[in-house]
Every structure is written in structure tokens, then in C-alpha cells.
Amino acid sequence: MPGGPIKIIVPTGSLGAGAVEAEIRYGLSRGAHAIATDAGSTDSGAAYLALGISKNNRGSVKRDLTILMKAGAEAGIPVIIGTSGQAGGDRNLDWTRDIAVEVARELGISPRIALLYSEQDKTTLKTLNAAGRITPLAPLGPLDDATVDACEHIVAAMGPEPYMAALQAGADIILGGRTTDTAVLACFALLHGAPSGPSWHAGKVAECGAQCTVYRDRGSGVLISIGQDGFEVEPLSQDNRCDPESVSAHMLYENSDPFRLTEPGGVLDVTDAVYVPVDDRTVKVTGSVWEPKPYTMKLEGAAASRFQTVMLIGIQDPDVLARVDEFHDKMLAALYHRVHSTIGEAAGDFHISLRMYGWNAVSGDKPPEGTPPPREIGVLFVATADSQEMASQIAKACNPYFFHFPLSMDKELPSYGFAFTPADIDRGPVYEFKLNHVVHVDDPMALVRTEWVDLRKVEAA
């Protein structure tokens, strides 16, 4: 690091969340050396990996990529994106690649784009597992072949090494598959000789953009500056600030352990980190420690299992609202009876759940005696079966009961408030994560494939 600290613009917590052009300009004016952000996480569930689709819409990803690629090209600094397309599977990455190529053409720029793929084929994983190279993390046990086979897609979370290699090979833009958030932000500094503890810790603090600032609604990104004795972080928005509490508290966020974070090739330990204000908007952090460990990559696998069909009604009838639990239990029993009597054994091992929104849908717990009746509730019907067709048939069989189920039989049948017609919606499969395992590798590149889209060559051809 001959030229002082390494400065990285982290424009947003996730590509597509809304990079702000003025913030990027500020970061460049502060002498930024690279722009880096991740583009996803496992947070929103397994569907995005199982289906290879993005959570963010194409337009917002393209908008952010346009801002970042334009700034990167004008300043001559790399743009580094990790966990492309929400889940970082090959399809998610290819989707992002196509957008980046489109943006490059529209901007009239010719970058060298490195694509880092970390999706894993099942045969390789089974071989590694048989060789004892895959080990479980709590609460799961050892991996078996059937679990590998159940997954639609499996990715291994990369560390910084593939990014460092791509930067050394002259990448202007890197689009990575699944990567730890921290590695995406730390890679440039690590490549240029910044110490490991501050590089990784800065990456962790900045992974959600302005989340580590005092006013999280003011602006989108932060600037991290990593030097030999620690790192500094400041918001990219002029009317925002970081303070020691906002920065240190971010280690709590989404981590099960606030002091130690396991990453590929080591553990970041911030137990003895010290957070001090540099000025009224910048915090300096020292004392971050990197403990090298044998190299592991976390595996994420998403499976599509059984199928669901849903229906929704709204209820304002005060007689029902005074006895919601009783109504729920009676209706559920009636719906099961209805399916048994009309579809019978063909329904298979089906499941029906009724979620009483406005009462106890989120917890599923029985509210305490004496809880006042709600003003209205929404009842979500969820049927799960072995095929979409059967889930749909179960919902259709239940439809009249769900729509008209009376609390007592001595009145005319009520009609509850359907929101739309047809009332039943085929929701598709239940998507679940199946893996909580790490794979031990001797070479950080062993499970990574690097490909290039070199628009300079395309241009020249």
C-alpha cells in the first residue's frame, strides 16, 4: 500500500437497492480505488437459488449497474459485484452478465468482465463428501447423497481469492457467483497489501451499505478506507454520519455471534476492536484480528419439494371474531373431512394450514384468554400436496367450505370476503434450503470457474 489507505465505495447494501449517483461522485472525489457491492443473500429464501432468479427486478439492477459501470469507466477503477442475481448460482450470474453487457453497449464502453462461477455439480460434491471433505454445521448432521440429489442448485460461497486473481488479470468489472458479502468488499484491499483484520472487518461493517450509519434513511452507501493500522468508515451521503455505536452495532446484525465471523480461510475476531470518532461523520476502527484457518467454503443448496395452493378470505363478522380460535379449529377439521370424503386416498399425505392474519398468523400461538377481538381478520388457506394438480384439487374441494363455513349451524350460511376470482392460486413448490455444510479445499480456486467477456476484443473483431 505505497499510496496510503485503500478506499472502496460500497454504493448500496445490495445491487438494485438504489445506488445514488451523487454519492458515487463524492466517493470518487475522495479518491476511491474501487466500487464493490454484493447483489444478494440467502435472506429472502431458497426460491431464488432453486429457480435461478433475481429478487430485485431487472430494471432496478440495470439502473444501479449503469450508475456503477459509468463511474467505474470514467474513473478507471474496477466495479466488483458478488452474489450476482440474489443467489449467485450460474443462472443468476448469467442473468446479471446479460444486463452488464447491455449496459456496456448503451454506455459505449468496452470493459473486460470476469465471471466467477461457484455453482457445484452434484458428482463433484458426492466425491468430496465421500472423501470426508464436507462437514456439517449445527444444527445439521453429516451430508448424504440423497440430500445432494434433492437440491436444484448448490453453490459454494467464495472467498476473496478468485476476485483477487481476476483483478490481477485486468478485470474492469467482476461479476461473482455466491460469495461471502465481506469477501466482495475486502478483496481489493487484500490484493493491494492491506492487513487482513481491518480489510475483513471493513467488509463486514459495510456489507449493508448505509445500515452502519446513524441515519439509515439518509443515503445508500459508505466509503471504507483501509490502512495499515485499521480502517475508517464514513457515509457517502453528506447529511449522514457514522458514530462508534452505529458502526460497532453492525457486527450484531444477522450474525449469530457478534464477535467472531467465520470466513473462507479464517475467522474475523472483533472482540478487542476499538471504535473511535475521527470527525463528526467518520469512525476509525482498530484492533480487528484475522485468525487464519484451514480453507472452507460454505455450501448452500436449494430444493423444490411439495406443492402449494393458497386462498384468502377476509372476515369482519363480529360473531366469528369473538371466537376466532374455535372458528379456526372447526373449519380446519371440516376442511380435512371434506378432502377425505371427496378426494380420499388419492389426496395422499396432504396438509392444510389456516393462518388467521390479524389474530395469530405470524406466531401460530393461541392468544391468551381475554384478548380483545380484532376488527377484522384475513384467513390464508394453504394446501400442500405431492403435486401441484393435487394441491389445486384440494383447494377447489375446500373452496365452498372455506368461503361459507358457519360458526354455528342455526343461521343461514355466511359468505366471507374473497379478494379475487378464481379464488385459488397455485403457488408452486415449497422451496427449502437443504445444506448447512462446509467443503474443505486446499486451493481457494479449486471449486471456482472463471470466464471472461472481453468487450474490447469484441469491439476490435
Binding site: G45, S248, S256, Y275, V362, G364, V430, E432
Partner: protein, 107 residues
């Protein structure tokens, strides 16, 4: 008897990957934190009672510089399963609010 809600200015929950849930309890002041950070009422039996957590897979950390107690537990079924009700676990903190801190473990 003070509850979590009485002595914390902010309580939150979030998934920490598909298999873990984590809670952050931000105490109002160092006195409350000092008095209740190690309260047995926030121990593994309480997490078992409220969330069905395996007590052996409950972790608790204290962060004195922030007056924060962090509690994490492993979910009994992973995120997004057939009966998922809270994909990001962002609403799970509510069950902690009424926990009485001077009570014995799991009460």
C-alpha cells in the same frame, strides 16, 4: 417485575442464515444491562419454552460497550418450509418482550 420491554429501548430479531435466528436486546442503560444481562430468565430453557429451541443450541453473548445481549438459537425447521410463518424471523422478538427478568429460568 420488569420485563424485557421495560428495560430495553430496542429489541429485534432476524434470521442469521437459513438455520439460525438471532435476537438483539438493546438495554436502556448500563444499570439495566448490568443487572439483567445474565438473567436466568433469558437462558436456554426460556428459548425452549418460547420457540421450541434445543437448549444445547442456544448461544448468548453480552456486548457491554453497547449494553446489548445477543441470543441466537438453531431453528427446528429451516427457513421457508411448508409451515413457514416468518421467513426473515423479523417478528420473533415480540415473544421476548413480556419475559419477566427477575423470574427464574424458563418461567
Amino acid at each position: 417485575m420488569p420485563t424485557v420491554n421495560d428495560v430495553c429501548h430496542h429489541v429485534r430479531s432476524k434470521n442469521a442464515g437459513p438455520y439460525w435466528v438471532t435476537f438483539d436486546l438493546f438495554f436502556k442503560d448500563p444499570e439495566s444491562f448490568g443487572r439483567y444481562a445474565d438473567s436466568p430468565a433469558l437462558g436456554p430453557p426460556q428459548m425452549e419454552r418460547l420457540f421450541g429451541a434445543d437448549p444445547a443450541l442456544v448461544k448468548r453473548f453480552t456486548v457491554p460497550s453497547l449494553n446489548v445481549v445477543k441470543i441466537s438459537y438453531a431453528r427446528s425447521s429451516p427457513q421457508g418450509g411448508m409451515v413457514e410463518r416468518d421467513m426473515h424471523c423479523g417478528q420473533q422478538f415480540v415473544r421476548l418482550l413480556d419475559v419477566e427478568l427477575d423470574a427464574p429460568a424458563g418461567a
